[in-house]
Amino acid sequence: MLALRDVDVYIQASHILRKVSLEAAPGELVCLVGRNGAGKTTTLRAVMGYLRPAGGTITLAGQPIGGLPTHAIAARGVGYAPEESAVFGDLTVAENIELPTWTRPGGRPAAERVARAYDVFPRLRGFATRGGTQLSGGERKMLSIARALALDPALLLLDEPFEGLSPAIIPQLGESIAAIARLGPAIVLAASNIHHVPVYASRLYVIERGEIVFAGLPQDLRGRPDLARIVGQAL
């Protein structure tokens, strides 16, 4: 579904991503783990078209998408839930979820997409008429992901979905993400802590200073004590 090959990204003069290669197949949940500033968000933003790669290729279902405008990438079925959630505060919860059903018509009917979003996050159903500013941090995270889901995405990019949430809500959100994974899109989930990587993750990439330093199955990390410091786990 998604493939990055040797992607280089500069922000102003700084070389942020160095030859990053990453793949996510349909139905896979791929985790990108690294410390703050390692390049996780930059990777996702490059896929989303906010940043133009200086080198390498980004393809979606075999089609190159590097250099396309962000809205065109979204229209091809890439849902993005950024770390800061960026829920539209002036729009109600229902309007927030409804918006992508208009911007990306076709595929599943709008009603079904909205229903799926509420099925995954039943808690939001009760808040449908509330404004986006009247939500807690966790609810904003949920809404941000629900809205990306309403785009009917083939690929879903989740940037640190568990960051800054109360420990009480994390398992609930984890179950929701598992439910989304069962719906079939490829998911790339960025996390700064290995403890936030869901047990059902298909594969794992570890990124450090803009380079992918490990790619493989979660259990393969055990043989790599050098990475323990990066991913925050006593291996």
Binding site: Y50, H71, A75, A86, G89, E98, P100, T133
Partner: protein
Amino acid sequence: MIVRALGLAACAALLLLPLAGLPYTTTLLLPAFGYAIALLGLNLLFGTTGLLSFGHALFVALGGYTAAVLTSRLGVRSLEIVLLAAAATAVVVAGPVGLVCVRYVKIYFGMLTLAFGMLFYSFLYKFYALTGGDEGMRVLRPVLLGRPLEHLDTVAFLTGPFYYYALAVLTLAALVMRRLVASPLGLSLRSIRENAAKAESLGVSVRRYRLAAFVVAAVFGAVGGALLVVPTGLADPLLAYWTHSGNLVFMLLLGGFDHFFGPVLGAVVFILLQDQVMSLTSYWRFLFGAILAVVVIFFPRGLMGLLDPRRAPAP
């Protein structure tokens, strides 16, 4: 509830006003109707999309001159055709102008719209043969719905048929705008106002939607402008001058840009207030400056915010 009751009372008052034998007040409201239509458009751009234009008068003038050219040069007197032509001209002009302007936001957008407005002003002012220069162009009395109404004198025409005609166009414009704001287009525009980058990631083509808002605003501006010049019988270059654009922004702030009916209220109150204050003192601009300052500082949501304080204040 109170707002709805007040609104109904205001509608009834507007409907009955011509029958009350107050021809002066009745003619006074005619420009307010024209402005209200133009402001509904301006508010789609500012209140809904978050782009503040300081050149909206360009389109008001465009509508005014379209009416002048059609009625006095081309012999087209039907007001329906004049309004449609004004709308079409607005689309033709706003397309390319908007393409340039919507590449920018905030102050840069404002300054560019100001620049285009002043360009058009200079054109109207300097191309004497085409536009009549500073003398402007005459706007002849239009024919309403195919009825010449030549037996009516000017006051009777304006306070009777034309008053109701303009009110009907305003009602129609408000209904169309209301549907637009509630449509997927309106939803996308509101998402752009809040966070354009985020809207983009949800598949909203930000530039295209901003352009759409710009063109729709221009159409409303031109239709309002065409109605505005009928009572005065004159289209002159000052219609496009930057102070006229400033007045439009003033009306919007006065009425309240975050309420659907803010623009309409702003236009009516501005016109009535201007009439009162001008008759009292020649320093009316000074007083209006003070009023604007008070509105911005103490009533950022305008008069509509005072009447309808339910919603949270705009951040």
